[in-house]
Amino acid sequence: MSAEQPKAPFAGLRVADFAWVGVGPTVSKYLADHGAEVIRIESSTYPESLRRVGPFVDNIPGVDRSGYYANFNSSKLGASINLKHPRGPELAKRIALACDVVTESFTPGTMARFGLDYASLSAERPDLVMISMPLYGQTGPWSHYSGFGHVLQGAAGFNHLTGWPDEPPIGTGTAYTDFLVPHIGAVGLIAALDYRRRTGVGQYIDFGQFEAAIHGLWTAMLDWTANGHEQTRMGNRDPEAAPHGCYRCRDGRYIVLACFTEKQWEGFRAALGRPDWCDLERMRRKWQRLNEQKEIDRHIQAWLDGYTYDPARPDVFADEGGESQGRRFTTDEVMMHFQDYGVPCGIVRSPEAMRSDPQMLHRQHYWMLEHPVMGLRSYDGPAFRLSATPTKLRKAAPCLGEDNEYVFKEIVGLGDEEFIELLADGAFE
């Protein structure tokens, strides 16, 4: 083993990133944040959707002002090409051929229209690894369907499995599959890169977001295919734990708690001060408690009403419930109180609260990066820490076309004059 510092995993790899919105850029972000030179290839005539969606700095829309875009594009270079310009497709192809990896997420057929499909590129660069990642894959009756993660979560079952029983399938409140499938995409892409590293063989990956997302449904598919049982949304309940829920504290925040095991149930009882209702015959076994969840939830809510308070309004205290014997808990204290008794318990953190969560701070999850237009802004890093080759978000997201001069002169090999001519002619718009 060499004594010097190990090099960044993907140092020396170059990536042409034609992908857009959430999924594709997140896949290439993993490569960029671990050393690859990733070139976002965009166009000002048809800017990437996320550059047009907020949050915008100072609430002023602008292609270089969106935090939504920025977060998925740390450590990348920005190039812009107008593919409608007579020389646009050729320039794009020259970038792609200078790269080890091509990523894209257009509707099937789009890349081929510009001569940028795998067959055309690999004819000239056989060791190229290319991944296409539209919603539904390259083939099939839905392959031309458009959409976003916000609706794909519906097709992939997440709406059906989120919400309260007998109420609408509200979904996760996010474009959920955009934050699920890129991780799977990245695993396949890096596996193909590792294969190439060892054998020199390139390949094409037809990645359908829909197909990947189904692997996030846990046991729901097999429960249907093997048991004929259709899982559905259960609010905050769980088929294997009681209690298992989300409850409001006096300061308006919510806590969750879960008892899967007898040990956790015992801890829960002790944490509540061993109230009589816990000793009822119908609370003795878990299968019984699973049937008594409504009553258990009522007791928990009454306990929290009685024992928690809002430090901002200490004079307001519950009369109802009347269970308190003096001790009062803030929401933070009540979480630790249950934890001390061995009960899995946590506070529902808001986006604001995430930023001061002691554990997230300890993990230094959020990276602060300086952007020329947006200023110092926070970016997500991955959820893993690598001891030998740490993740490094090297720079903020690129402005549109920020690195054109480097990309087209150094990588594509255009001369100064040709670059200026093409620039004047709108080839980089």
Partner: protein, 428 residues
């Protein structure tokens, strides 16, 4: 395919996968079994290491036909399909020694112990590194290996709450809700898989240097907060659960979910009635005379205007679309919307996903033989279609210690007599 007597039928050999030749030891619970299964289907030899009485997650429901037992957990079936299983008693020194000999012959080890409790089982990184400096050790826990929450008790809902996702999930009236199929576990598995792959690639370009990959379930869940984290950072707006609407930093969007005659459809911003597609959608509704007040120059001009809809306008737009959808089937609605350029999707249940024409056309599903039951069942298929190194489902999940003889003989050269001795000492 006929198997010679005595040879376990699974896992199927997968020499053509991109990870063929690598070996993974799986000492994980719910936080890591899906991660290693993904690696196995890419070609790695995944060995599930269980205690003698079987892995505790064999007790996770639901169960086949509702009958609890070590071989009937559907959780076990899904998460451990295509792995080999050995038993190894890590509470005994001889068991730990066996594990370390396996670790010396492996590339990746995935463990999910409560931080600080690994050493007692010989699973701490310093010990494993001493055994095999090239080993990649992936530790998945609720909150990471160190820090103020490292030792807290966790579960899926706890990580979904402390990971911020639940705050965006739900609505004002009911409060936060968890997605019923555990997503904090899912996210932790996927982050672990990405981390393992980055570390594996790093090893290849760094003379075989192994490393420790420390994964936090809370942090994994926080990555699914959409643009809420940047919205707080940039605008100081603290987003919550939008219910049937979408979060937008500046305004309340129209509903994106509408009931149909046979279920629900998902369509961004009232199906496109608000925004650049507004006229296209109004034309569609107008063709059957169902556009109501919207088929007027004033409304048309209003709806293509990016100015947010106010509280009086929004219900008018939503009601028109709701009445239109309620009379129609979701597949018909989606096909027609797509034909007109609007990115709608049906809201599907597991049964409807299983019946999907798209997935059938893609030859997605795989049939997995469970010979002990005498039946085969349909499992989800390839997340990736590789042109050179195909993905492959490798058969059913293993029985407890099913591959003891095979693995210990093949990897550690332990013969039948030695294995008997280990069995008597309860190490295997």
């Amino acid at each position: 395919m006929a198997m010679p007597d005595g040879v376990p039928p699974v896992p199927f050999a997968h020499p053509g996968g991109p990870l063929a030749g690598y070996r993974v030891l799986d000492l994980a619970d719910e936080k890591g079994q899906l991660c290693t299964r993904l690696l196995g289907e890419l070609g790695a030899d995944v060995i599930k290491v269980e205690p003698r009485e079987g892995d505790p997650t064999r007790g996770c429901g639901p169960f086949f036909r509702g009958e609890e037992g070590a071989e009937t957990s559907l959780f076990w079936w899904v998460m451990n399909a295509g792995k080999r299983s050995v038993t190894c008693e890590l509470r005994l020194e001889q068991g730990r020694e066996l594990l370390h000999r396996l670790a010396a012959r492996s590339d990746i080890l995935v463990e999910t112990c409560v931080p600080g409790t690994q050493a007692a089982l010989g699973l701490d990184y310093p010990t494993l590194r001493a055994v095999n400096p090239s080993l990649i050790v992936v530790s998945i826990s609720g909150f990471g290996q160190t820090g103020p929450y490292a030792k807290l008790h966790t579960s899926d809902i706890v990580a979904a709450a402390l990971g911020g996702h639940m705050h965006l999930n739900g609505d004002e009236e009911h409060g936060p809700v968890r997605t019923t199929v555990p997503q904090a576990f899912t996210q932790a598995n996927f982050q672990a898989a990405v981390g393992a792959m980055v570390a594996l690639y790093a090893r290849g370009v760094n003379d075989g240097v192994g490393q420790h990959v420390d994964v936090s379930m809370q942090e994994a869940m926080s990555l699914a907060m959409d643009n809420a984290q940047t919205t707080w950072d940039i605008r100081g707006i603290n987003l919550g659960g939008p219910g049937m609407r979408r979060n937008n930093t500046q305004f309340t969007t129209p509903r994106y979910l509408y009931e149909t005659a046979d279920g629900w459809v998902a369509c961004v911003q009232a199906g496109g009635l608000f925004g650049v597609l507004a006229n296209t959608i109004i034309d569609w509704l107008a063709e059957t005379g169902e556009a109501g007040p919207l088929d007027s120059p004033e409304w048309r001009a209003r709806l293509v205007n990016p100015q947010p809809l106010n509280d009086d306008e929004r219900p008018i737009v939503e009601d028109v679309l709701a009445a239109f959808c309620k009379k129609r089937l979701k597949d018909d609605l989606v096909a027609e919307a797509q034909r007109r350029g609007a990115g709608w999707a049906p809201v599907l249940s597991p049964r409807e996903i299983a019946d999907s024409r798209q997935l059938a056309a893609r030859d997605y599903w795989v049939r997995v033989q469970h010979e002990a039951i005498g039946e085969s069942f349909v499992y989800p298929g390839a997340p990736w279609k590789f042109s050179a190194t195909p993905w492959m489902q490798r058969g059913r999940a293993p029985h407890v210690g099913e591959h003891n003889d095979q693995v210990y003989a093949e990897l550690l050269d332990i013969g039948a007599a030695d294995l008997r001795r280990l069995r008597m000492r309860m190490a295997v």
